[in-house]
Symmetry: C2
Subunit: 441 residues, 2 copies
């Protein structure tokens, strides 16, 4: 499915493995000599022996492979394409892993993210956002002008933005159109036109700007719909997805699309089953369905764990695939103080993990030099607050946890944990470091 030239991927991955790591980067031992990322397995580091400083966010190799394989099989069963949202990890190494698993493109949110992805060999990008501002527009058009293999899509939801892009594309002399997806939104929501009529007006503006611009599809993001009641949330997601189908049908009827394969895209990491089913059922001619889950690869232990449980309840296709997604991302911390019998402090802060969708949850613990594997946390251990560099762990008075012990935390919302780390080791089942990724936030 992925038509990125193999030589490009190979050379990008080689460049990434040649990147220097040193102790200015959080997660690497103070005092080490600089070394190439690709040499990390040779260090023989074991997280459970304390070879790396904590806090440390890490990825479990076997779980990454499992999750990638699960999504590959889900897509094969559903017939949709995947452009996983790269903003989650901003790790080109993981982007290439996703392409190797069958992803069609990488989704991104900003021009800087696109520049990083292109620099490291990603040749098809869906920027699920408006392209705004002279520096960002010039930068993207520069990539399109100088790299004929670069296949790029972004969103439009206003005639004002279309006019700016049309003029910029005309001046840039691309020799090909800038591809736009019409973004549909919802009243009270984020970006995106609020009605089919408004959408057709934007679509007509794009049509009139041919050959500099080209309307190649319709896009929306249902993930901002989050009501207390799950059934009502799903009902409104369905209504929103139908509005995107309606927008596509209306623009088709008015012949506003370019003469090429078209894209109908929605889907964060919570409702992609509904997206692929509903869009497929609409049987729109000429449209490929593209979903964009960013979180399936790392998954998490709270928020997306919950979303996935509900997805399994909805989707027979997903249930038929055997064991589901598991959390590949963990954050390990030291217990640094236990100043009261039921209060401990761990070395983890808002700088180190997400905290906007629930605090991390203790999963296991380990005493350096003690028994292996790590022991499950028994009893009510709970993070109750977090500061910039500390977190408050309330625990039973008879908890065995002591100063110096290591605690494994599962996170809620991977996107805002990845962006706290420029480096994440990849570990085997025994927490030996066998590889690593760099991120570029």
């Amino acid at each position: 499915m992925n038509d990125l030239a193999p030589v490009t991927a190979t050379s990008a991955l080689a460049e990434l493995k040649a990147l220097t790591l040193d102790d200015r980067i959080k997660g690497l031992p103070p005092g080490i000599e600089p070394f190439a990322l690709g040499a990390i397995a040779g260090k023989g580091w074991r997280v459970l022996q304390g070879d790396l400083p904590l806090p440390l966010a890490l990825l479990k190799d076997r779980v990454l492979a499992h999750n990638g394989d699960w999504m590959r099989r889900f897509l094969a069963a559903s017939g949709a394409k995947l452009a996983p949202h790269g903003k989650t990890t901003m790790s080109p190494q993981l982007f290439h892993r996703q392409l190797a698993d069958g992803a069609w493109a990488i989704t991104l949110a900003t021009a800087q993210q696109v520049a990083v992805a292109h620099r490291y060999g990603i040749r098809r990008v869906l920027m699920a956002n408006q392209l705004i501002g002279r520096a960002a527009i010039d930068g993207i058009l520069g990539l399109l002008r100088t790299d004929p293999s670069f296949d790029f899509y972004c969103l439009a939801d206003s005639a004002a933005n279309v006019a700016t892009l049309a003029e910029a594309a005309r001046s840039a002399g691309l020799g090909r159109p800038l591809n736009l997806l019409l973004e549909g939104g919802m009243a009270g929501g984020r970006t995106g036109v609020r009605s089919t009529a408004d959408g057709l007006a934007v679509a007509r503006a794009i049509k009139q700007a041919e050959p500099h611009l080209s309307l190649v599809g319709v896009e929306g993001f249902e993930g901002i719909i989050a009501l207390p009641d799950q059934t009502e949330t799903e009902r409104r997601v369905a209504v929103f997805l139908d509005s995107l189908i309606e927008l596509a049908r209306a623009a088709l009827a008015q012949d506003l699309f370019a003469s090429r394969p078209l894209i109908l895209s929605a889907g964060g990491s919570a409702f992609y089953d509904m997206v692929v089913e509903r869009f497929a059922a609409a049987q729109l001619p000429r449209f490929d369905i593209v979903t964009r889950s960013g979180c399936y690869l790392s998954h998490d232990s709270v928020q997306y764990r919950g979303h996935f449980q509900r997805l399994l309840e909805r989707s027979g296709t997903a249930r038929g695939l055997g064991e589901g997604l598991k959390a590949a991302l963990e954050v390990w911390v030291h217990l640094q103080s236990r100043p009261e019998p039921t209060r401990a402090i761990v070395g983890l802060g808002k700088r180190d993990c997400s905290y906007d969708a629930g605090l991390p949850v203790p999963l296991a613990w380990h005493r350096p030099g003690g028994v292996l594997p790590p022991q499950p946390v028994v009893g009510d251990h709970r993070l109750v607050a977090i500061n910039d560099q500390h977190a408050f762990l309330d625990l039973p008075a008879d908890s065995p946890l002591a100063v110096g012990d290591m605690v494994c935390l599962g996170v809620s919302h991977p996107c805002l944990t990845f962006d706290k780390w420029q480096f994440l080791p990849i570990v085997d089942d025994d927490y030996r470091v066998i590889d690593a990724v760099r991120t570029f936030f």
Copy 2:
């Protein structure tokens, strides 16, 4: 006051100015050729002309200078020393600026932060945290062993940690003690001993570990005290500060300190006036007072603005210094969509700014190519929600703001804005880029 060898600072700053910037780093234009940080002024970039992509966090040169001068004069008037908390900015260039303004040391929170500071020429560090875990301990002791000029202090609040540090220091053969400050805490609070009796037990453990360890002072952090009622908050801050004085007196009485100048330290960015007044009034023999405000240099537009107003109300010394601290840190964003008359979306996300102590506030706006200087935002423009990469700006139906306009935002809580940026330009009054800093989070 700062006894860092000038040659070390000069060579560290030269190394920082030689660091390469390129378009993998957020805030720099996609497509630019890599260049040395020190050459940035020569680019002739003007933020208001759209030369840099948004969102963009920037620092105002004149305000940095003003705030640095204000704190220098406050310290001169109060007689206290300053070890500004470097975790706020994690920018060694700003650390050197603070030392040049008279700071005595840099405070830091983790071993990785210490490694960064030491790498870039900082030779006196107060790590206001426990030193925990083999990799972190080995790294710090390695710096102490190999660099005789490195003057380092960290905290202790448990006999267990003291035992670990004593054994590590003994094995490392430092030839000098590891300097520890006894941390006092409060019931229900963060780290720190909960009573004078517990504190004396830890102090005795340190004393018994001489010459490997050395007890050189007492420390606490009053900044976690935040009640709805400001008067009650201040009363409890005073009680807590008194408990630290009591801890110091008790350990003095039992002769548990080393025979050298001692340190009594407290003070985040909200109550440092109370710290210096209360500690000075205690007239403890042999103790230098060290405060640790991390936020005075950049200041902010919401949270620390409020703290500073209250500080001025409390402190005649501060009121006597003329114009107070101002916000040097701003985040500029593009308005990317205005899909409803009273709803706009700006290109700013949780990846780009703090949001834990209130969302950023619109201060001014500018239309590229339009009148200068930027215009104040008139009427009720308010960020009401923020996602990973977008923020929701509610505004009056008659607001002039349109797609493509630039909006200047003031932030609440600088620490969690700096850590979203590896690069921040420094601008003059006309938003021309005249310098830049790198951060290392």
